[in-house]
Symmetry: C2
Subunit: 234 residues, 2 copies
Amino acid sequence: MKENTSPIYYADATPLLLAVDCIIFGFDRDSLKLLLFQRKVAPFQDEWSLIGSFVKQEESVLKAAERVLKTHTGLTNVFMEELGSYGEVERDPGARVISIAHYALMRLAEEYKQIDQTYKAQWFEFDQLPDLILDHHQMVQDALEKLRRKTRYRPIGFELLPEKFTIPQLRMLYEVIYQRPLDRRNFRKKILSMKILEKLEEKDKTSSRKGAFLYRFNPEKYQEMVKRGVDFVI
Amino acid sequence: MKENTSPIYYADATPLLLAVDCIIFGFDRDSLKLLLFQRKVAPFQDEWSLIGSFVKQEESVLKAAERVLKTHTGLTNVFMEELGSYGEVERDPGARVISIAHYALMRLAEEYKQIDQTYKAQWFEFDQLPDLILDHHQMVQDALEKLRRKTRYRPIGFELLPEKFTIPQLRMLYEVIYQRPLDRRNFRKKILSMKILEKLEEKDKTSSRKGAFLYRFNPEKYQEMVKRGVDFVI
DNA sequence: CCAAAAGTGTTATCGCTACACCCATGA
DNA sequence: TCATGGGTGTAGCGATAACACTTTTGG
């Protein structure tokens, strides 16, 4: 039944190359990281790049981004959202290519650190990025800005933490993203007052002798909060 | 010197049709409006649609959106921003087309109301829109949501008002966008406390015997406010 | 027993909300 | 003179920011 390539309509329009690129954020204890790859195709072969691919005839733009993520990291079910399009005529000397950038947030647990080996990718400290091809550096800057704005008003920061995390870990994440210290006591009060976290019995003792209680984000409780008309703000 | 269509690279990628569509908001005294057109090409010829066009080989995506706006309204220098991409495979039965939607805000002064005659377009009350083709209704909904969020944190509402406006007019605009009443006195205090408006000597007497003072948005003052670290919030 | 991080409570201040009254003017 | 919308002031409340002390425990 597929007739979407019918040549009857739009015959005078010029087809263009459309790509997706993914800005992949990770977080490790006290630093924000970015996953980069060495480009496999010319031009700019072997230079550092975001992962990307052309959008195929038979897949949606979002599906293309998800395919790219899966192909290069082996992961699915990762938080991902559209960042925006990059459509300057001369942005890619290889051809006229429009790219729709997406940013993704992923937990950087031990198993995922091995992405390096399997997929020939590398996690970079955010403040020690190598030169990137094309306008990828701009994409990264734009993604960071969006991340800063978005984490403040939406509960997406949890995507960067393991399922179970401590309040100090969560605070550290926000401190790294915002690049400024947050008051320990006020932060704890604020996040707990929203009642969107479940306190567990376990403690994490990796960063103190006393140990800190682990918590888990509860999406249902978050939905209840939204229904009550309460805003998520940090 | 243009070599961006060199066939050497990316030979295996499939080109696709890429379009831009514009969601054009207007504001008239006490109602939000949307500019729509009757589509000139098949499929769906003569049905109501957002304005749009295919992106050409030699123009950026943004330029394409600006061209569309100019072609159909005669206007340039209109506030416009990317909304996002619409990239489902089956979204357009005419062909596989990805659209990058943009929303625009324009002053709806007397001269622009004549857009109707000149360009065969029509302003619709926002709550009385006709059926729209494809996923254009979804685009409009998404644009409205973005407008609501954005006007709250960025000084873009002024784009919908004449250069000179009264505080009650400005408040009315926000009431229409947010769909809820705002306290007259608190609104005035808040907006004036930011010190981003210039008070003029003139009064507007069209809506009251006493008349209301006219103001003008001052972008330089807004920049100063931003530097002071003060947030724009309404 | 002590260093180091986790956890708790209190107070002052700022901003927002909710309100009531006066002002200017054309009809 | 009065109806109508414009303009101003204030008190109360809630959220946030600033800040000091106690708890736990491995070494």
